[in-house]
Subunit: 211 residues, 3 copies
């Protein structure tokens, strides 16, 4: 707010969250959430996102622990189980269980928009939590990995294409250029945090002790 | 930010989150969070919200699964158990259990303000998660349904009127008119997602297979 | 948005979330997230935050319930168990268990910036939820208490200094002055909600009944 200029309306500052009108305008220009199966998916401040067909669950019998610095691609592959649920079929998420899913929609955020991934209230009220890591950076591209947890007490039937979540979109200060991405995910991904350079720094500072 | 115009202060853009002063001003005008029992409920960027007296829990013995497209009002009614906890009494939320509550406050957001529902830190530190679906659209009216989950390891005593959550308020681009609402909820509601037109679209695309 | 002035660009309003450039600028001036061990910790819209060495877990054998109005410092002390994990060692968070941690970084937000604490996606995909109460008010100072819950099905090894979370920073309307703080936390804290004046108000309205 520029002091003086808007002093008569101290409560009318600029918009943080994008309206439906703005979202529709940006969807024509540089914001991609595709495919939109229905107009009603685009709301005020948010776009509904739906489940794709690919899931990843853990093979508990293959791992005693998740220790990021000691993971590698082979270990990750051996402990992940990929599940494909064709359109028209279902994935049953039992109480207290956890699975990675993926949005059906491909998403590309422009350089000046960021987002938060949230459950839709209908699913939240059945106990479905759809994300534990919810910030989407400006310029991000791909299908979003969804962390699906049934916090409720009754199994929830998940249908590919059903709109389980919403992406709330906010204005961000514009990036100077498109950030580089190692991969553009189109299925759920268990990120290779083992490649984080921070582990080397930690190991150098403090030699690793036995677990 | 318009390049050049504010180059001397690249870090002073407009406000996304409303200050206490702005919140108090808007509460006099067109923002309703009522009743406010204490001034300290209104903070910088957020208003504390408290528990009402009505809860909904699941009758596990009545349902093997929650399958949204096959739900109807009767099924929902048979599987929901409504619980009223009078003021001065308590609801005991055991570890790993889940219940729907409702705000004591009636809330009406103006057309240019949206919100996020979050736990208050004191409760969060005891393991109480108060919402899995947290975005409140501009123009929304009613008592908020709260999804209450005890992630901790010790039972938590819930008291009606206690301030378990907070509503963080952000500026949104102004809606042209008040959105229509089928209902204005004043108690916890298990939404009828079965009425979502998306199910018909999914069913048309992919004939339903057996669960 | 001032009508007319920006009519040619209806989709270019002011920034809600701070860019990397702005974050780096503010980190030189009045925003403190310290120490930053690596440049890559500062991203677009967010700063990665890491685990410190101090944890608090509950002594379940000491408490049947958490009832905030009847808590006092002695009770809280008897039921909390403080755990120190030296650098180079680990804390093992088993499935469905909950512990309070603390950021390694000391954080001080200026009067016009607020934040949300979120899991980093790598950890979220392993099932780690790092916060149930996530809004950080403008002007806040201290080490953030993190609520760590393993929602997944495999034990997660937590390393002090590993970057488990991120702090998303948003512009807020500027506070007139630094808010007063009773304490500036530098280790995980179980807040003394029992001191909340609201309990007296509730007790006056509705005399307490037996649990």
């Amino acid at each position: 707010m520029i002091p003086g200029q808007e002093s008569a309306k101290p409560h009318l500052p600029a918009e943080a969250v994008l309206s439906k009108e703005m979202l529709l305008q940006r969807l024509k220009e540089d914001l991609i959430v595709s495919p939109i199966l229905e107009k009603s998916q685009v709301g005020d401040g948010s776009v509904d996102i739906s489940l794709g067909t690919r899931f990843i669950r853990s093979r508990r019998s293959k791992m005693t622990q998740i220790d990021f610095p000691s993971l590698n691609k082979e270990k990750i592959r051996s402990f992940q189980e990929s599940v494909v649920v064709p359109f028209g079929e279902q994935y049953i998420l039992h109480p207290r269980s956890f699975v990675l899913g993926c949005t059906f929609e491909f998403i590309a955020l422009p350089l000046d928009i960021c987002g938060f991934v949230l459950s839709r209230s209908s699913y939240g009220r059945a106990g479905l939590l759809i994300a534990t890591a919810t910030f989407v950076h400006p310029g991000w591209r791909g299908c979003l990995t969804l962390e699906l947890e049934n916090l409720g007490e009754i199994p929830i039937i998940l249908h590919p294409l059903s709109a389980v979540g919403q992406l709330v979109l906010l204005n961000a200060s514009k990036l100077p250029k498109q950030p580089e991405a190692k991969i553009i995910p189109v299925s759920p991904t268990f990120t290779t945090l083992n490649e984080d350079p921070r582990w080397k720094k930690i190991a150098a500072l403090y030699p690793k002790t036995e677990t």
